[in-house]
């Protein structure tokens, strides 16, 4: 009952249980945080708008993204993955979501940012439906906590439209 083996086992079990309880409490503490994020996206320019040989439209945009996601960070946050997606509808597809730009925010200091960029990933349609198309720009963020379940949210900005003609 008092051998090394028994004591080591008891100690280890207790330590793991306490660790699990602490992780659960840390993860639950995230629920007390009520975030107030804000974001704004401007389409500065349509760099070009072409139809490929295989029939798919492609657009290149210059964007201005500014956001303040500092209120998302708690002491239990490991990183926030943020990305800007363009969302639109076509006759063949009820939903198209294409990520134009993404970034990883490792700490609260970097969570208030302003960037000017052209789209990091190709904006290619399945087909040729983009002329004059109305679309939404949605800023999504996925919070990865140090312990606990990941959660995500977004801000939808609508009212954008692509030009009627290729250029």
């Amino acid at each position: 009952m008092h051998s090394f083996g028994y004591r080591a086992n008891a100690l280890l079990t207790f330590a793991v249980t306490i660790l699990a309880v602490m992780c659960a409490m840390a993860s639950l503490s995230d629920n007390f945080n009520s975030p107030t994020p804000s974001a704004q996206v401007q389409v500065l320019n349509i760099n070009w708008f072409q139809k490929h040989q295989d029939g798919n439209d492609e657009v290149s945009l210059a964007l201005n993204v500014s956001a303040n996601l500092q209120s998302l960070f708690t002491w239990n946050t490991k990183q926030v993955f943020v990305f800007l997606a363009i969302e639109y509808e076509t006759p063949m597809n009820s939903l198209n979501q294409i990520s134009l730009w993404d970034g990883i925010i490792p700490a609260k200091e970097h969570a208030k940012f302003w960037i000017q960029t052209s789209n990091k990933y190709q904006f290619v349609d399945q087909g040729s439906n983009l002329r004059g198309k109305d679309f939404n720009l949605t800023l999504h963020w996925h919070v990865m906590p140090k312990t606990g379940k990941m959660f995500a949210d977004k801000i939808v900005m609508s009212g954008y439209r692509l030009p009627q003609e290729y250029r």
């Binding site: 490929h52 295989d54 798919n56 490991k78 990183q79 993955f81 990305f83 997606a85 006759p91 063949m92 597809n93 009820s94 939903l95 198209n96 979501q97 294409i98 990520s99 993404d102 990883i104 490792p106 990933y121 190709q122 290619v124 399945q126 999504h140 996925h142 990865m144 379940k149 990941m150 995500a152």
Partner: protein, 156 residues
Amino acid sequence: MGFIGETVDSVKSIQIRQFLSQVVSFGMIVTSALIIWKALMCVTGSESPVVVVLSESMEPGFKRGDILFLHISEDPIRAGEIVVFNVDGRDIPIVHRVIKVHERLDTAEVDLLTKGDNNDEDDRLLYAQGQSLRSKVREQVLEHDVRHIEEKLEEI
């Protein structure tokens, strides 16, 4: 002679009983582990409810050796979600994020493109097995999941 024979017999029967008892205990432990694994498969609906991260393609979020718990749900897959999938013919689970979604209006099909956070390139080449690839991939997703996804190679 009879006394020795009796003693040997009684010793042997104790040893045999102990031995059998240990075998049964061991068997119980192994089958309990199997039961827990199968129960997890049932509860989560996924074929492999626990996977290990094999590459650094999702750093700094997921590191090599991290253990992920997966489950299947009926919600549709959306951009930004992290999915775990096998490429047809290979057994390695790939943990990447969805960056493009094209969901059909009339059928339940959806075309996806994925990319690891830490990779510069998306996963087109990973899926590639020919010119225009349509491979049925069983996808098990971290937060939301799907039963059946058709992946199409996006023409550049």
